[in-house]
């Protein structure tokens, strides 16, 4: 997904638009229809970035469409701005600013809550536009008299008409919109959006500020909607108040789903289908207003059986006829050997001055869930370069303890000191950027991406920090990214399988990728939550070797139930029991400790 033939799609789009200008008139397509399709298509590019790529379904895009359109129309009709293009851009800017305000509220929730909130907020805009602001917006009448654009360079002057010459203008706008959209989804920023769609929790854990990415994408969508709204006024000659309707948002959602989500072109294709059905069914079959019933049925059937819309369906068809089946998974995954060179630098880029003393220290760490105390007053310190094991019977509070160390959970009391710095109450993504991260007990992968793309997501956070608005940068231009990714893949022994989708990996491979995601962010302290869980004996041996490899230059803390592996690896072991620290010492000391034996065996050994 992150690799593309350069300029191929852009070139085809340009060709298609030029061809449409000359072919469509002969097919009895009216210029209004062609322009309207492009306006919907442009409107939908932003929506698809939010829905298709980031996975958040907004039913309130009409708010930005209407806002941008009204601002542009108002400015140009009242001669406040004489240049139409400038007015369109100002409308876009206002829509984007409104997008920030709406996003701050709506993005507090996800899934259906997000969808419901966007509906409600868009309705609020509808009522405000229709009543309190009707002196400016024309209320139910809209704003008539939006002129067509004109170009004036020196003595040269060209006025676009309302016929096919206007199509050249809308096509140019659409082309610019699609080129920018493609750059955005191919940028590191776009890659992070797909990670948020697949697994927001992990995207945050590898060090991305998920909330800020969501807001940025939402504002981009608002900007696209705002510009398209302005263009709607130009195409129709007046700004219709219907732009604010719930139906407008709904139509955008339907068109995008029909055309195909996650393609950027889906909304345009869907709009073409919509308008074709409308004109064709109404005239050819004399169905009158019933065309919408047919359209609704088509839509329901498409959602039920063709999940990725027309473009998705076509892509599957092409792939089936042109490519041979993927090579089957090897019987045994590549064995892990000690790497010749440790290509993933253990040290963080922003390593602070050399620091002596414990890498991490917990002081009086306590966590209570209601009346249940999961962790009670734990004091804990790990020295530089150590491999520390944490053991304890089920329910001892090991996972809670880990979650507090990485700041996923806020402690009820106590402090966490990392490299001499108090990180208590910090965000997970910021803590990861400092060089402290975790691999999860239950795999937390980006399930719709390939293995390499998974590692890229994690490495991007290491290379770019928590948030960067590098919308137009190509992902392969991120300095050092490739080395970081290849190094990580090599370290976890998955180079040969790098381009396989995660869904097709064997369990052991997924487990290694889970560790790889944590490694790709170059942690100086890595916490591993049951890295051997659910593995076969062969896979266990491989993973133990992997852990021995990656500990060079890093500090590791491992929670594990496999005692043999643990006693063989760890220098020191901490035992938790019923939420409290029971014992700490070398493996030999722990094995001989009477309290530990009692905790595990219920006093049998002591008897």
């Amino acid at each position: 997904m992150f690799r593309h033939r350069r300029f191929l799609i852009e070139g085809l789009t340009a060709l298609g638009l030029v061809a449409a200008r000359f072919v469509l008139p002969h097919l009895n397509v009216s210029p209004e229809t062609a322009n309207t399709i492009l306006v919907w298509g442009l409107f939908g590019i932003g929506f698809d970035i939010v829905f298709g790529f980031m996975g958040m379904l907004s039913f309130g895009q009409a708010a930005f469409y209407g806002t941008g359109g009204l601002v542009a129309a108002y400015l140009v009709i009242n001669n406040i701005v004489s240049n139409l293009l400038l007015a369109l851009i100002l409308g876009m800017v206002v829509a984007a600013i409104v997008g920030i305000a709406v996003g701050v509220v709506a993005l507090r929730r996800t899934g259906i809550y997000f969808a419901m909130i966007t509906v409600a907020i868009a309705e609020m805009f509808f009522f405000i536009e229709n009543n309190p602001l009707s002196d400016y917006t024309g209320g139910e009448n809209g704003l008539p008299g939006v002129p067509t654009p004109s170009i004036a360079i020196g003595s040269f002057h060209y006025q676009f008409g309302t016929d096919w010459s206007l199509f050249s203008f809308t096509a140019a706008c659409y082309f610019v919109g699609i080129v920018i959209g493609l750059r955005i989804i191919r940028s590191p920023f776009g890659a992070v959006l797909t990670a948020i769609r697949d697994n927001p929790l992990r995207a945050r854990a590898v060090g991305h500020a998920v909330g800020r990415y969501k807001l940025a994408a939402f504002v981009i969508a608002a900007a696209y909607a705002g510009f398209a709204g302005g263009l709607l006024g130009v195409v129709q000659g007046f700004m219709p108040p219907e732009a604010f309707d719930f139906d407008t948002s709904g139509q955008l959602v339907i068109q995008t789903a029909i055309g195909g989500t996650g393609t950027l072109f889906g909304p345009m294709v869907g709009a073409a289908v919509w308008l074709f059905l409308r004109d064709f069914l109404q005239s050819a079959f004399g169905l009158g207003a019933t065309w919408k019933l047919v359209l609704g049925l088509v839509f329901v059937v498409l959602v039920m059986f063709l999940r990725r819309g027309l473009i998705g369906g076509a892509a599957v068809l092409i792939r089936r006829t042109t490519t041979r089946p993927a090579p089957p998974a090897p019987e045994q995954s590549a064995p892990i050997e000690a790497p010749a060179i440790a290509s993933v630098g253990p040290a963080r880029r922003r390593q602070e001055a050399p620091f002596s003393g414990p890498v991490i220290e917990a002081r009086g760490l306590t966590k209570a869930f209601g009346g249940i105390v999961a962790n009670r007053d734990i004091n804990f310190a790990v020295e530089q370069g150590e491999l520390r094991g944490i053991i304890g019977p089920n329910g001892a509070g090991k996972s809670t303890f880990f979650k507090m160390l990485t700041c996923e959970l806020k402690p009820t009391a106590g402090r966490i000191i990392f490299h001499g710095r108090d990180i208590t109450g910090m965000h997970v993504d910021d803590v990861c950027q400092l060089g402290l991260t975790k691999s999860y007990q239950v795999n937390q992968l980006f399930s719709r991406l390939t293995l390499r793309e998974n590692v890229i997501i994690a490495a991007l956070a290491e290379r770019r920090g928590t948030f960067k608005l590098d919308l137009l940068r190509r992902i392969d231009r991120v300095p050092g990214l490739n080395d970081q990714v290849e190094g990580t893949l090599q370290l976890v022994g998955l180079t040969a399988r790098a381009d396989v989708p995660v869904a097709e990996l064997a369990y052991g491979e997924k487990r290694r990728l889970e560790i790889g995601l944590a490694l790709a962010s170059s942690p100086s302290l890595l916490l591993l939550d049951e890295p051997l869980a659910g593995m076969s004996p062969v896979e266990r041996a491989e993973t133990v070797q992997l852990l021995k490899n990656i500990r060079r230059g890093r500090t590791l803390v491992v929670v594990e139930h496999d005692m043999d592996a643990m006693f063989g690896m760890a220098e020191r072991i901490t035992v938790l029991h019923e939420g409290a620290l029971l014992a700490e010492g070398t493996p030999t000391e722990i094995q001989r400790n009477g309290l530990v034996q009692e905790a595990y065996l219920g006093g049998v050994a002591a008897a």
Binding site: R108, F127, T290, L293, V303
Partner: protein, 291 residues
């Protein structure tokens, strides 16, 4: 100037429309809570109930029969809808569920438009509920009092079914963990079908009871759908008591604001929803972890 009696009458209007909203919203919230599907066709089912009642009323001339037929028709519709479509979407992402229910809602609206036209239709209130009733401190349209009473009774029945019967216990357990309920040997499929039927009935029942107050149009459900969203977001998604509280709050906001300036009533409703979201994101009676 706003007089005391004007305020009281608006307050009663708010109660009546709030109770209806609560009823519709509780249908939405029970379906979501149990099945995990946000039904975007819920507004269309409200509309469908009104039209089903209209047809029954035209055929029999009895309002009571209209209410019964309208409700039963929606139970049947809900059960079939669940069996044919919704069932295939439990394992698909929530976005697909939104898309398909949205599409079905659109089909219903267009189907009714095709059959009955876009012009508004009316169902008169029953003869015994026409006119006005003196309440001592003011006189008030009788049928609105009846609506308030009927909605209150319907909510009480729903409460009884949910909290005092075996089915209700299963439904509430299903809200917590439907997989576990299935493990316990309960036929979850059938319960889900029934729940969808009950949820649809709540919307359809409200649709026909409301018909004499407003007039029927095919797209009357759109505005109601948006209002029920606000209700469940205020009250807490998936919470039955939350739907009732949210419904009453929304009804009062709408009517009390419209006393000052009708243009702002909806705006005020959404403003209050935004406030709730900022201060208590899970809704007034919602549990924090349900996402």
């Amino acid at each position: 100037m706003i007089s005391w009696s004007n305020f009281l009458s608006q307050f009663f209007n708010g109660l009546a429309s709030g109770a209806l909203l609560a009823l519709i919203s509780s249908g939405l919230t029970i379906i979501y809570g149990t099945l995990g599907v946000l039904n975007l066709a819920h507004g269309a089912m409200f509309m469908l109930g009104g039209y089903a009642g209209y047809v029954a009323f035209q055929a029999t001339g009895s309002f009571l029969i209209a209410v019964i037929v309208g409700s039963l028709f929606l139970v049947l519709f809900g059960v079939i809808f669940e069996f044919v479509i919704i069932r295939r979407f439990y394992s698909r992402p929530p976005e697909d569920q939104l898309l398909v229910t949205f599409g079905v809602g659109m089909v219903l609206v267009e189907l009714v438009r095709w059959g009955f036209g876009s012009l508004s239709l009316t169902v008169p209130p029953p003869a015994w509920a026409m006119g006005v009733t003196p309440l001592g401190f003011m006189i008030y349209p009788t049928y609105r009092l009846v609506v308030l009473g009927i909605a209150a009774v319907a909510l009480a029945v729903l409460y009884f079914v949910l909290y005092r019967t075996r089915l209700g216990m299963i439904v509430r357990a299903g809200i917590e963990d439907s997989t576990m309920v299935g493990m316990l040997g309960i036929n979850v499929d059938r319960v889900f079908m029934l729940v969808f039927g009950i949820g649809a009935m709540a919307a359809g029942f409200a649709g026909i009871v409301n018909a004499p107050v407003v007039s029927l149009t095919p797209d009357m459900g759109d505005a109601i759908l948006v209002q029920t969203f606000v209700v469940v977001v205020i009250g807490g998604v998936g919470s039955f008591p939350g739907a009732i509280l949210g419904g009453l709050i929304a009804g009062e906001i709408l009517s009390v604001t419209s006393m000052f300036n009708p243009a702002y009533s909806e705006v005020m409703l959404f403003a209050v929803m935004t406030l709730v979201l900022l201060l208590r994101p899970q809704g007034l009676l919602g549990l924090p972890s349900r996402e």
